[in-house]
């Protein structure tokens, strides 16, 4: 993204200030939404992103205090074959998600109206409305706040990485040698702590804008109450004849990407793999569980009916 560097330096001084004013007013609305117990969401206009990575650096700076400080050497883990994951010597990696990089820029070269164009897409946790990382965490270390933000409590997480396995985008990333597991049975259970975007929950609680939004010179992201942001996403998509990703994926998320190019097309050209999430359609992960939960309500009724039927049959036989 060499061309972006000059553009980045140019834009930095001129547009960031304007960007933060716009973003601050939207976060004021987001704060009002939070007061009413509503979820906040972000709209990411892919057509505006220039891939300057200002947001990536801002995220790293703002969240540096939360990054893992692992103890080395790592305790031996059993059985053999349990691998340590160590990113502490690769903290400058920014071309994928890592425990030290919660946001990265994915690029997609596509044909648009007969022209070849490079689109850049900021990628991070989607903050799902019903997040399986939170709901299926066996320890309660992944939590969802009233404002819809999901985050992992680094003081409780044992690093089993279940949240990563159940996340449709495999977002959370593990660092070994840090966290509560060291104080329990480091050889036999746990393997560090999982890290991901926490939507700058602490900044939001202070009435500030997430760092990535504040730093973006192009105002790619808009934050606010979910209903309002979703409406804006639809208006934007309609205005560019575009597409939305994140509204229905995994049953709904609090991140809406709007793109002039269909997402299946983008998905086919982006680099995917470890720490590099896809853009494919995702069905609702917790959907089956929700349906079975309904069956749980009927189960006691079935039990009563069964016992009553047996009683009736027996009484009939006796008489």
């Amino acid at each position: 993204m060499g061309h972006a560097i000059t553009r980045r330096s140019f834009l930095k001084g001129t547009l960031t200030a304007a960007g933060s004013i716009a973003a601050t007013s939207s976060v004021a609305r987001a704060a009002a939404a939070m007061d009413k117990g509503e979820a906040i969401a972000t709209l990411i206009d892919i057509s505006k992103c220039v891939g300057c990575e200002e947001c990536v650096h801002a995220c790293k700076e703002a969240n540096a205090d939360k990054y893992p400080k692992p103890q080395k050497p790592f305790p031996k883990m059993y059985p053999k074959g349990v691998k340590a994951e160590d990113w502490s010597d690769k903290t400058d990696v920014i071309d994928r998600l890592t425990p030290y990089n919660w946001l990265y820029i994915q690029s997609a070269t596509v044909d648009m109206n007969g022209e070849t164009k490079e689109l850049t897409i900021p990628r991070r946790c989607m903050h799902c409305t019903n997040p399986p990382c939170v709901k299926l965490c066996p320890w309660g270390s992944a939590i969802q706040l009233d404002n819809g933000i999901s985050r992992i409590d680094a003081d409780i997480c044992l690093g089993g990485a279940k949240c990563q396995t159940v996340c449709p985008w495999l977002i959370p990333q593990r660092q070994t040698g840090v966290g509560l597991y060291l104080d329990i049975l480091p050889a036999f259970a746990g393997n560090g702590v999982m890290y991901k975007c926490d939507r700058c929950y602490n900044r939001i609680a202070e009435g500030k804008v997430p760092a990535c939004i504040e730093a973006c010179p192009e105002n790619v992201q808009t934050i606010g109450p979910r209903d309002e942001i979703l409406k804006q996403a639809h208006e934007l998509a309609a205005s560019m004849n575009g597409y939305i990703y994140g509204e229905n994926e995994n049953g709904g998320t609090n991140t809406f990407y709007v793109s002039p190019v269909p997402f299946d097309k983008l998905n086919s050209v982006i680099e995917k793999g470890k720490g590099k999430p896809h853009l494919a359609a995702v069905s609702e992960s917790m959907g089956t569980g929700d349906k079975l939960a309904m069956a749980m309500l009927i189960a006691p009724i079935a039990g009563v009916v069964g016992a009553a039927a047996r009683f009736y049959n027996m009484s009939k036989k006796e008489s």
Binding site: G140, I143, D153, K162, T288, G303, A307, F311
Partner: protein, 147 residues
């Protein structure tokens, strides 16, 4: 033992076995300890499968437990007294159903529990499960009544 009791007993054994297995499978241990590598046990490391199975067997447990309770009240078998052991076990099972039910509710969309509440539920569900396992192990070898 009457046929009805026998069938119920077998359903109970199968239900508890699978509830325990799929319950422990909610922790990422079967893959780490290569149990899921044993042919036929790969599903133990599939979180969505074990999650759904845990729910299905919970449905059976709830249905069966209600059936047994109501059946006991309606048909009070002659000479059948509830021992303190059975009371203890019933309370543990009731505790498992209540904590499990609250966790199912937690898993529905739009029900964010406080982190403290989630950890408390997780730990009490696990503790009750260990208590029930301990009960079964203690009575192993004796003639155990499963209900």
């Amino acid at each position: 033992m009457r046929l009805n009791e026998k069938i119920i007993r077998y359903i109970y054994i199968i239900t508890f076995t699978f509830l325990t297995l799929t319950g422990f499978a909610q922790m990422p241990i079967f893959k780490r300890y290569h149990i899921a590598d044993i042919p036929g046990l790969g599903w133990l490391a599939q979180f969505y499968i074990t999650h759904a199975m845990h729910y299905i067997f919970a449905v059976i447990l709830i249905g069966l437990s209600t059936y047994i309770c109501v059946d006991y009240i309606l048909n009070k078998p002659q000479g059948y007294t509830i021992t303190s052991r059975v009371y203890a076990k019933s309370i543990i099972i009731l505790g498992l159903i209540i904590t499990g039910g609250l966790m199912v509710f937690k898993n529905l969309s739009g029900t964010p529990y406080s982190p403290f509440m989630i950890s408390l539920l997780d730990l009490s569900h696990l503790t009750l499960c260990m208590a029930l396992l301990f009960y079964f192990i203690l009575l192993l070898g004796r003639s155990v009544r499963f209900y």
